[in-house]
Amino acid sequence: MQWWCFAQPGSAWTWTWRPLIGVWIGLALLVWGYRRLTKSATGAAEEEGMRRWRRLAFGAALFVLWATLDWPLGPLGASHFASIHMMQFLAVGVAAPALLLVALPPAAFVGLERSRRVVKALESVTQPVVAFFIFTIVMTVTHWPGVVDALMPTQLGSFAIDLAWLMGGLIFWWPLISPVPARPGFQPLAQIAYLALNALLIRPPFAMLIFSEHPIYAIYELAPPPASDALGDQQFAGVIMEIGGAWIMFAGVLVVFRRWMVSEQAGARHSDA
């Protein structure tokens, strides 16, 4: 039984459905964890509309993770198409972590404050500059050709890459979304710069994807049909990473900007009163 998708160079693709049991177990664990966290936060008052939005965000995160990791996109991205692999990164490493954090009510984070050790660890790991570098390093290392070619042909290696993406994404979004630890110094302008810099930064593997003369990943170059044009697929993958990543960051900028405007207006109304 295959529990996670992995690269199988030289193996023919079949459209026969096969479940990836690890994906389903992972999603079940997420649902269980979410229910526990939101249950413990039921005492805190939050309007029904907001609660519905959070549930919707959680549902969207689950869908994004399931659609990109399970059959057929999971195996196609692991074994045949670099472009699908990059879409998976945007889903698992960028979009899903943001949705998961947004799905949690502020009260769900409060429990973290009970442990001084946890708060201290969060303070250092999710300090914006540190979080930015952790995310960039995770993103760069997990897309480096030698690392991809070495890890993707095993289920454990492929799972490690997906897990690193999810953890890196959670760390990246944490200072923007989580109220714990409080970061009064991380103001909206700095938040916008944090997101914009990430959108504009071209990392070495992505530049290689677009500008390399030869395919840089062996697993995608040696993938049988339906893969056919390894170099074209790779260039498309680079474009997806740059443009897709930039759009997600841009959406983040819009949310931060809107939140900033709302709080400014509320502040103005308060001082008028």
Binding site: P9, W13, P215, A218, E221, L222, P224, P225, S228, A230
Partner: protein, 197 residues
């Protein structure tokens, strides 16, 4: 499928392309060198093609496969076709790629030509009796063609060697390229191979 796997393994499928270097080359060494087989087949225009005569003095890359192959053949031909497209004209003019069909019944001349054109129109496609092809494979010390019934009752799979054999301009093969060889490897080796005897 198991038989196909065993055949592929015996032919070097999955062996890293850098196993056993000949000087700086990235292919696997063939020691002693193998002479080009005496093989006369039919090309996709329906004309007789004498492998030795037509490719004399050229670097000749020979691969035995079939167009319905779901895995090794399209990958090999895609990497090789892309590499040929990248070659300098002087290297390209001294190189011939020959694809010998191991499934002549299903690989009609039209189908074979269309399939090869998808990789590079200069690739020569040959068809002929399987007995003659097996005799040629035997002289090259490669496993013969084997029909493997499909697991799902659909079209059968054809077992065939998974390596591209490179014959130098002198007609001797000193190096072969198992499955796993990449476009960058071809780009590295082909200019050197055309410069050798």
């Amino acid at each position: 499928m198991a038989a196909l796997g065993a055949l592929a393994a015996s032919a070097g499928c999955g062996v890293p392309a850098d196993g056993g270097r000949l000087g700086e080359l990235r292919g696997s060494v063939m020691d002693p060198p193998i002479p080009k087989p005496d093989l006369v087949l039919t090309d996709t225009r329906g004309q007789a093609y004498d492998l030795r005569r037509e490719t004399d003095g050229y670097l000749t890359l020979v691969f035995f496969g079939y167009t319905y192959c779901p895995d090794v053949c399209p990958v090999h031909m895609a990497t090789l076709g892309a590499a040929i497209g990248d070659l300098q004209p002087e290297v390209r003019d001294r190189t011939k790629v020959v694809f010998v069909s191991t499934d002549p019944e299903r690989d009609t001349p039209e189908r074979l030509r269309a399939w090869l054109d998808g990789f590079d129109p200069s690739i020569v496609g040959l068809r002929g009796p399987v007995d003659e092809i097996n005799a040629a494979l035997a002289t090259m010390k490669l496993p013969g063609v084997a029909v493997v019934p499909s697991e799902h009752g659909s079209d059968p799979l054809i077992g065939h060697p998974s390596a591209v054999v490179a014959f130098g301009p002198d007609g001797l093969a000193r190096v072969r390229y198992p499955f796993g060889v990449r476009r960058a490897d071809w780009a590295h080796d082909l200019p050197m191979l055309t410069a050798r005897p």
